[in-house]
Symmetry: C2
Subunit: 384 residues, 2 copies
């Protein structure tokens, strides 16, 4: 009778209305049946991105959108400033290097946050920098970055754009594309947008579109100008990932009907419950600065391998969370509370974590974590 | 009570067992639950590709696989020989140009076929050509190319590989990757593999992997060496398109259980029925040489716009077929009989085409096309 529970930072659970919509017989991507679906998704994406600009829909995972963000705005030998504060910051640098963009890296200790002044100073020192590349939320460490303040640093520099990987952030925490002057924002389907993996989304500011006109890096499949033209006709440049876009319409409808503000508050509530609970159990948060509402990264207690925690949760209790990545493997575990996750699942995962730790020999009074989570949930009116 | 019938060359109908498998709650792409599914799909892909080599699974549509085929085997300023005999041949040339690969094009009149001797002659004239780029089946014209013979031309040239876009061919017509010495074969999910769009598949020969080692074109998202390494561990380099791969396992199971040979014979039977029927109705086949079993491209009768035929079939009869692309728009229509299509649907589309043409003023005794199709179906024991 074991059920499968998914509390990892992507893929995340998909609501049944989206699963069932995607299970309907497939339709053609250039048909009059499909175009209104794409048109609706296109409009609702603007709502989630908080933008007036088009949001391109690509048939790839988020990394494809990240590559496109670089290749569609920059040229060979351009300089880019990369905030490397985790695995996904490193990915920005790798993409730049693969395409011959010179990187200047701001290396931040994993678990800590970059300061907007560090970015300002780097730009002052290297005014020829064409782009600042950063995450909205670094999934490997659970840190969220001060995008609004960084937007203020970049916005008046004519020669520089701000490119944001918001793959694990968009729809779960505040990402104000237009108001914060984020020039390129990349998102993915399998995070807070509550869909299976396979779609990337990219939104460009007018400033970024001007960069696009002069961009000389090679590109074909991820060609934003071509996609923008197709999108104006409610199409995609190449074959659309029809079924995923049909699912997208459903999850965007859910987001719009609930309201983005309420959803963000919901994530804040779940996050606080998990963070309070694990600390009540005597565990330490791994994230030292600016912990996000999207996931909770926790250090394994002394003498316990974090991978064993992940394994017991999965094998004995049917709950999939995430371990640590790269050098953090075995040292931390990450509980995601992003997307289609409710407060009952939070109680469930905390309770299962208690039983897991006790099995592994950790001294703990059962119920301590659950009690702390309960208190947070009771204190919030915003959990939905 | 109108139903939706899809007889266009991609997306094609998806069997319900795949739709329902994809509608199950999503699981994590690095979990022990997912790995055996990917492992099974990986093995069955080898069966359909008729290869001993790995078949990479990419989260993109076929065009992404085409781009990767170029960027993972070639270097800047390499020369490539492109057979341009339709829209998808043009796409090969565009990809090469986007990445700074010099193209030598063999331009073939749309609807006609390249001769292996033309390729041999071009390679003799330009022995520095690194790759021959061609389609297995040119979807825009309905022509299939003599891959076996072209494989014989290329196989002993140490300096040249044969790259084949088999997106609309694989699983519907014979594509013997290993036996025919096809060095790179690209396929897509939304054709004869009977899935929604969103997956590309690429298979490389040992010779092509050697080219990969020396390839200097930039790539990141489509990085075949990285994918090959991940595939060995039953993973993908980036997030896997989990739900589509779960569907893939189902459709591959269907293909394997039925048998590739039987499926190819089935396509041959349906194709013959459609081609015989439209000719019995006094219509002309557009494809002048080597018509494929995948679709039937038909010239609109004098005075009738092919787009009107497409429109009436869609609006009055709920049947989606394809019109002509580029310069063929309005001149031809294309009935696909690829993938999950049965003989009853062939009768249905021929009958509806009869009624459509009569509505448009074409002189025709109703039933003439259907009678011809019936006779073909009766003469075959191989339709399944």
């Amino acid at each position: 009778m074991n059920k499968y529970y998914l509390l990892a930072p992507g893929p995340t659970p998909v609501p049944s209305e989206a699963l069932l919509a995607m299970a309907q017989p497939i339709i053609h991507h250039r048909s009059p049946q499909f175009k209104p679906i794409l048109a609706e998704a296109k409009e609702d994406l603007k709502y989630v991105f908080q933008t007036q600009n088009d949001v391109l829909i690509l048939a790839s995972t988020g990394t494809g959108g990240m590559e496109g963000a670089v290749t569609n705005t920059l040229s060979p030998e351009d300089k880019a400033l990369v905030v490397r504060a985790g695995k996904f910051g490193e990915r920005w640098a790798e993409i730049c290097e693969a395409y011959g963009v010179e990187t200047i890296n701001i290396d931040i200790e994993w678990g800590r946050c970059v300061k907007p002044e560090q970015i300002a100073a780097a730009l002052d020192r290297n005014p020829e920098i064409k782009a600042v590349l950063i995450q909205a939320h670094e999934t490997s460490t659970g840190v969220k970055f001060p995008l609004k303040e960084i937007g203020d640093v970049v916005k008046d520099r004519e020669n520089t754009i701000l490119i944001v990987d918001a793959i694990s952030a968009l729809g779960a925490m505040e990402v104000k594309t237009d108001a914060w002057h984020l020039d390129v924002v990349v998102a993915g389907s399998q995070k807070a947008l509550m869909l299976p993996p396979g779609l990337a989304f990219v939104c460009l500011s007018e400033k970024a579109w001007r960069f696009n006109e002069n961009s000389k890096l090679p590109k074909y499949y991820f060609n934003f100008a071509k996609e923008r033209k197709a999108l104006a006709k409610n199409q995609t440049a190449y074959t659309a990932a029809v079924s995923l876009i049909i699912g997208l319409r459903e999850t965007l409808k859910r987001i719009k009907q609930t309201g983005l503000e309420k959803i963000i508050a919901h994530h804040r509530c779940l996050s606080q419950a998990v963070k309070t609970a694990v600390q009540a159990m005597g565990l330490k948060l791994f994230t030292k600065e600016n912990p996000s509402e999207i996931l909770t990264a926790v250090e394994a207690p002394d003498g316990i391998d974090a991978q064993d925690i992940v394994k017991i949760l999965r094998e004995d209790y049917g709950i999939t969370i995430a371990g640590g990545q790269a050098q953090l493997k075995g040292k931390i575990f990450r509980i995601s509370h992003m997307g289609y996750v409710d407060e009952h699942e939070i109680i469930m995962v905390i309770a299962a974590l208690e039983r897991t730790l006790i099995k592994l020999g950790y001294k703990l009074t059962p119920g301590l974590g659950v009690k702390a989570a309960q208190e947070v949930l009771l204190s919030h009116l915003s959990c939905i």
